[in-house]
Symmetry: C2
């Protein structure tokens, strides 16, 4: 493992100096090779599928794991798309001249070795590798045992593609030891790994918090709220609420709790409930009174604290924007929070006072996504405040270096 | 401790909305009160001094701990200076409109609760509190047992000053339990502490890496190099080298290793050695040959890896800028690295290829400092790549929040 790390580190020094043209050529070559090697990749994938099915994995797990010719094409298209994005490296973030004549600037540079720990999704292997290489970083990947055959086949094709364009094969390193011990060792490679991004559930995050000594960015839960204010446009609000809950319930920017101002609670909840037939509702007393105790089960604090990622919604009637803000401060996970309102005052208070990666006014929480915000691609959504907050694209895989030029200045 | 944390969190919500005028008034009121309470602060400090002397502390430790009327005035002036700095909160970092009409912007906001663990320097109590409050953060401080009486007296004065200006007293919270257990508990207050900045030596950093579950920024070692290239202006290079070693040897941006190109090694080393009488030299064979084996002891790899923070210097003769870059890649700590050269090529390769928070051309490493770069004040120097790299001022105590405004957009 240590040997792999040193090779990744050494590759990262080459990548840091690689031109945009070389990096883009490497991504295109890797995309072509991935498609060319489709049969090998699919054969490897079927080994993973067989093992998963033999072990009695759920249909959802098997579906996430399963590749098809179209999905392999999709991975290749992802790499080609990243090749079209602007290269963040070399950007001068700011600069000035000091009174003593020192010329100071901050230049955007790669992080170095970016490590990703992820679960049974073989497409992450190529998505992550593409974003890392485009941003001049070596990708150091540790997938799960369940996808190991697929990951090995995908990584082999990508590495060969990178070499074709003149980049080191270790621009992408896949750790093949998928034991728990290896994962912990991986998280402690201080001096090798410059940034670790865990992509997985609560137990992976907990393991990173306990074990990691390398710097990391947490891609955490999204317990997202929509607050429908007294002055909201109710037909539009209803469309937004249905979109945020139903369009893709299993993702982190879907709505999990609906807060409604008491003055419009009855008409609004009756209207929106018509679109929520397929959704299990839990709510406070006022909600249950409006929609009926048989339609809405009582909501517990646990419900309000839970990211359901499913067709389930918690509903609460509140007396003011303050009560909505307080509820979000207590239960929110700092991901995405929306207010639907016609009031400038309410919008302004909500956007200022709610502490989250993203706050939205009169729009669906589902827009908090790298592609929707214009990044082109994302490597995750950070729910922490340091380094990156919200959707992480290529720029979030970089850091700034101070460059200070003088002509003999000494400090007095 | 948990109760203290919740109070700090609650204060942070008030601070996040405080105007610049209120925050500045709070800093000025705190500065005035600190001076007014000088006698109480000095009386408390003498208790700490007595305990330190009774325990046989070294003169250096006692000196760091000792306050005087002038040092208390200095702390107050520090607060007044921070009041004059621009407020980073509310800055719009960037923004754009998406094709669907969503208006997107990123707004600079406080981190929330900023925690600092520090050693026996009572002035950190007021410096850190000033920077935190100015940037809209609650300061959650945990100093050492050795300075606890001084810290309690200083914190009491500052808190009273903050209240005078209308801010919550918990804008500054000092943890009075200085046990090891309390320090570990402190580092694990996830959900309360938004950013932890440890200011101390290797054992504190190691404890943070092992124990912390809150996000942190490491203010690490500075094993800084100066490389004198074949084309350097030797008289100027000599002045810079002497400045970087001698002007203040005990700080992290002082030079610890001198690398010299072989073609100018003899004349340069002989010239610069005249200014280094007070400095213990260790070097490679070539250096020992030039300056004499009695003047220069043999340098080990340990020497090259050590941040001496003292009048000691490691010297090595290298054959090329590549060898200098490789040496720095192997032994550097990623803090500040300088090249002294007349060659555009050498300068450009060095600044691109050396991986450090700051790279300098023809200037002393001592300039890598918040005040020297124009920040006005600094809370530390980060040697990590995430969030903040190099000197950390007010801006590094902030994060960005996405604000997304629409008029009913839903995702298709």
């Amino acid at each position: 493992m240590h040997e792999l790390g040193l090779r990744a580190k050494s590759a990262s020094r080459v990548l840091a100096g690689a031109s945009t043209a070389t990096k883009d050529a490497a991504l295109l070559a890797a995309a072509d090779l991935l498609v060319e090697r489709s049969e090998e990749v699919l054969a490897a994938n079927s080994l993973d599928i067989d093992r998963a099915e033999a072990a009695g994995a759920t249909a959802t797990v098997v579906d996430r794991l399963r590749l098809s010719p179209a999905r392999v094409e999709g991975m290749a298209d992802g790499l080609r798309n990243v090749a079209t994005l602007p290269d963040p490296i070399g950007e001068i973030a700011d600069g000035w001249v000091r009174p003593n004549g020192l010329r100071v600037r901050r230049v955007r540079v790669p992080l170095g070795v970016v490590a990703i720990v992820y679960e049974n999704r073989p497409n992450v292997t190529s998505d992550a590798a593409g974003l890392c290489v485009k941003s001049g970083n070596a990708a150091f990947l540790r997938g799960s045992s369940g996808a190991i055959s697929s990951n090995i086949a995908i990584a082999a094709a990508l590495r060969e593609g990178f070499v074709k364009a003149g980049l080191p094969s270790d621009s992408l390193t896949l750790v093949e030891d998928t034991s728990h011990g290896a994962a912990v060792e991986f998280m402690r490679m201080r001096g090798v790994i410059d940034c670790l991004i865990p992509r997985g559930g609560a137990s992976l995050i907990a393991s990173v918090l306990e074990n990691a000594t390398v710097p990391y960015v947490i891609d955490g839960d999204g317990n997202c709220h929509i607050y429908v204010d007294a002055t909201a446009n109710l037909p539009k609000a209803s469309e937004i609420v249905l979109n945020a809950k139903l369009q893709r319930p299993s993702v982190c920017n879907a709505m999990e709790t609906l807060l409604v101002h008491r003055s419009i609670a009855a008409p609004f909840l009756k209207r929106v409930a018509r679109g929520l037939d397929t959704v299990e509702l839990v709510g406070d007393d006022a909600t249950r009174e409006i929609l009926g105790a048989d339609r809405v089960a009582p909501a517990t604090d646990d419900d309000f604290a839970t990211e359901f990622l499913a067709l389930k919604l918690a509903v609460k009637v509140v007396d003011s924007v303050d009560e909505a803000i307080d509820h979000i401060a207590r239960f929110g996970s700092g991901h995405s929070e929306a207010i639907l309102t016609g009031s400038v005052d309410a919008a302004s208070r909500f956007t200022r006072e709610v502490d989250a990666a993203a706050v939205l006014v009169n729009a669906s929480t589902r827009f908090v996504d790298g592609e929707e915000l214009g990044f082109g691609a994302e490597i995750g959504i950070s729910t922490q405040k340091l380094h990156a907050r919200g959707p992480m694209g290529l720029r979030e895989l970089t850091t700034l270096k101070w460059v200070i030029e003088g002509d003999g200045q000494i400090r007095g």
